[in-house]
Symmetry: D2
Subunit: 357 residues, 4 copies
């Protein structure tokens, strides 16, 4: 199903080389002022064709809002945003040669002969553009409620940015990093990352990495004890983003080597509020927000589209074959993916914020 | 909401020290023979009070099936299974002292004064017993369809078991490991793990670890391209299991340091079937199963209940305090958690198997 | 799926002659005081075996609350209520002779050979007992919010009670009628109805009728413009009640013969509140509550279980046959059905009340 | 929420005077050939501005399919269809005068000051155009499976068409009536109905009526025993159609005056299939299809927009006022509504058809 959400509801659609892509967002309140320029700026951060470290396919990614928005304000009814595809070159895509690491084979098995294989069809990372639109809308609602979300590139190949401070991270750091088109805290590390990407590109290869996301201002008490845990709901959305293969909260994998004494976040009272000295749990206890910053990380795999020769199968002939993936591709998806993940987090947080009681 | 699932639907309920706990499972076909002894054996694997490395609270964990099951066969209507709580000692639980790492504070913020704080209430890992029941039911349906699921302890503290072979893992290895009450491939490593647990116990501390789960026999083509990806649906269920703080598929975090050339799983034809040489993607491309083994890992944090003195807050007085957590607790939850995760995977796979087309 | 609800969520289970029946209610707030005696009184209104106009099967219908309820208060986590079946006589039910008007054939087609055919299995009206439990719980939450729901028998066979006054109906009239075990406004008409039932019983036949339900105190603005309209959500729940074959709001079928001038409910201001002079729309405009009483009616068909000889099919032999339905049955389901519908309305209203914004 | 469906999923959006309206349909199989001309013909049946008995607002109602459809075939991924609004005259709509019978007041209470009041906004019957699009798509999938749906006007004002024969209705009768723009079985009655509409129009008034819908070819065994009954799911969708205030299955309201002997549909075997002599239950027993034609009726209220002077309230001033509703309106919505209901039934049937097992 193409839906996500309990309190807000998304419906996404579109294919890379079809007429257009888009999303319907339901469940927002009426009377929220939306700054369209800010939405466009967010779209621009994710948009393709903006630099030599991303795909050369250039798309305006201009969202047309068809409904739910009048006179600069939400009306409370569903907001539909659509984006026209303009710069499509389908000739590079061969229907029968399965691209390794891509969904060509699984799409064939699920949808059969008549799947849209052009540019990956509905599986294309291009479908994350509407998700960014929804996230940019959610962000403005969240900000009005005092909640801020930001993400940065924690790692690309072997280069690591400094991590967020899980206890002291604030709105200011988040808004600073989330304005950048190559979002890193330490821009020098960012330059090294870009070098790694260009090297991979020159080698007809690609590199992966990690995005780290933080949320401040979420009230305590949001989420559910079991099936609706914050982790369940956030991960289910983040794992919708193509290329994500790991999602971790707080200390994440680090917990495997910790003791309870080290892992537990002890409580204290400060200024009438309850806080924790450490934040290994990433702001979540028992599936519910505890008021500390929410921290999670997502691993993005290297772009599967590489121009090197790879072994594969011709699905029509059912025989072994070779492929050199053409088309215009990203040698690294992490920087654009970080923008997507930040915006997906905006959506997840808004959905959580509306949990009742 | 206490529900999970698209094609099968679970509803879970109960508190650690209440009358009972249970689950309702809807969406199973009628006419499936269920072997109750196998279900009981699975319950026994998770059950508390069976050894010195787990809690001393001893519960029969006998499930009474109230509905949907007549003459040894499913009827097709909802199956309700309930488990009575018998061995409860609530006096150890103090209402006002927040246990670090637990949900005491978040439960208070969500439910208020009248939450059931005894034994962690609805947040207790005890609530995973009904999940194991549901998984043990799902397992028998899956097995009849040729799908097998197994999990082992990959790591506790600093001791690592050998990982599953992601390409060649078979039904036999899975059924072998999934019969063990301390499920490891290398039993010598298992002994070392138990030592680590006993050491932690003697130090009034606890340790964490990693569970690894594999699925063989799932047909290609199950899952959805975006919001209903296999990763989204599996992680949303696995993150419902208390103490899980990271979920990773295939190469998982390893992708961050790989190149596309290394990460891509190249295809080949073998005996009229399409396979991949490697299985970094854990059997999932574009959110959909590709017919290779499905592999995922989950990190479980160290049990937060430790008898050492910890700093905390008295929520009634809103002042700083100290706590030594009493009650009967597990010095490590990983071995019992691995059984829970395996059974949760059974549920997730059955839900995926029923995806239409 | 055995689930209903957006903001509260029900999961129902059980068969007429199985171990027990029950329901799980999720989404209630914590800290709501529940008067168990009032719940029992409501169960008693629906319970079988209480008079000569209902089935002679006598069941205590005592609900055991397994979870979510401590010290007389809701905890905020799921409430599971179970009812044991005690007085079952399965020998009257023949597996292969399809009872006309019942679900024997459709159950066979859906679930196959292994359906639970005893007493109608999961299709039995007995499964409405848990629904009444859930409604009796919802009622107490609603009453605390100033919302009252009541229903009466509008018609049995050819005898009609006076209808509710759709404009002036108040909490007092509703609470009066909803205390009665044979809920009619005009008790003389009630006596006539009982005579019709006894006559039908003596003729080995049964009669149908209409229940009318009203709600006062619901704030304006609840519901949704399209798929989540009040009518959609209420009817989807009321149509879950066995034997209901028509659901009508406000003037209902009467609208077919009205003009717009007559049908429109004109507005006026009174004491700072907006009201309508008439209430043909049953308190709902555009799928959303307008603050006037919500009025709906449901038609219940005559009990299909009659002892007269009927033509049918032996499904095992696939040949024509005859049947005289045995077992203990109601010659009329309307009076007990009205209690069920009132309680289902409690649930629907609570779900609507929690619509956000 | 703007979603409907279990197995197929609709998301609807748009306002009467906004940029456009549309729908996303998910859950259809890939490889279904769609005849766009047939879809356009169905849109044309509902389209406004085609005759003197409907609104004079003329809209092309041309659907642009943005996704999920390539080379005349479905791809299996979501189909998004959008319709531009072109012929909007918003000046006739006054923001502050509440139109009786409309959703102006309830929209204000739900969405507040910034609702889109122009032309009724999201509450406009115009939003049924995308529903017809979805139904016309569903129809082609259904027809390929041997299922046919048709609807006719059973009644307008005091003029009644002959009803469908609930036992013998066939595909031929349904396809014949469902081609008509004014769908009646007896065209002479249709002429009388049109006269009633023109009379009402000349009197600045409007009239209501009843649509009757039949489905043949649905296999037995679809639906669910309780919350997912055929009646629950069909009524929840039909009640989404503006102006519907009653939904009845089979004998519907007639059941109230019947005895069990008369109401029960006795079974017989014919040609290896099980049928019923009568079809009072409208093809549904215990919430599940029994293989007989599915029959339901829906009452549509008279169009609330009438040019006569009516009493109302000025919501800005909170004082009593008068209104003469301007704009271009239908003096009767039943004929266009019948097309909408037929198409909604297509959707509901496809959703039911995909029930598993």
């Amino acid at each position: 199903m193409n839906n996500w959400g309990r309190n807000i509801r998304l419906s996404i659609f579109g294919e890379s080389h079809g007429q257009g892509i888009g999303i319907v967002i339901d469940g927002l309140p009426g009377g929220i002022k939306l700054d369209v320029e800010k939405i466009e700026a967010e779209m621009e951060r994710r948009a393709p064709g903006r630099s030599n470290i991303s795909t050369s396919r250039s798309e305006a990614d201009k969202v047309e809002i068809l409904s739910g928005f009048v006179g600069g304000m939400t009306t409370g009814t569903p907001i539909a945003g659509i984006i026209r595809n303009t710069n499509t070159i389908s000739k590079h895509y061969e229907k029968d040669l399965l691209r390794p690491g891509h969904a060509d084979y699984t799409a064939y098995m699920k949808y059969g002969e008549h799947r849209d294989y052009r540019g990956g069809g509905h599986f294309s990372a291009r479908i994350t553009a509407p998700l960014v639109f929804a996230g940019a809308v959610a962000k403005q609602v969240l900000n009005a409620e005092g909640v801020s979300v930001g993400a940065h590139i924690l790692k690309i190949a072997d280069v690591e940015d400094e991590p967020f401070d899980p206890v002291n991270i604030g709105e200011k750091e988040l808004s600073e990093v989330s304005k950048k088109s190559f979002p890193v805290i330490d821009d020098k590390k960012g330059e090294l990352m870009k070098q790694r990407i260009l090297t991979a590109k020159s080698e007809l290869n690609s590199v992966g990495g990690i995005a780290e996301c933080a949320v401040v201002g979420m009230p305590a008490g949001k989420g559910e004890p079991f099936f609706g845990s914050v982790e369940s709901r956030v991960s289910s959305l983040i794992y919708s983003v193509p290329a994500v293969k790991a999602v971790m909260f707080g200390a994440g994998c680090g917990f495997a080597g910790m003791t309870g004494k080290d892992a537990n976040d002890e409580f204290y009272v400060s200024g009438g509020k309850i806080k924790t000295y450490t934040n290994n749990n990433g702001g979540i206890n028992g599936g519910i927000t505890n008021g500390m910053p929410i921290i999670f990380r997502a691993v993005l795999k290297p772009t599967p589209s590489i121009a090197q020769k790879q072994r594969t199968v011709n699905i029509a002939k059912m025989e072994n074959a070779e492929i050199e993936v053409r088309g215009r591709h990203d040698p690294c998806i992490v920087h654009r993916g970080t923008v997507v993940i930040e915006n997906a987090a905006n959506i997840a947080m808004l959905d959580l914020l509306y949990d009742k009681f």
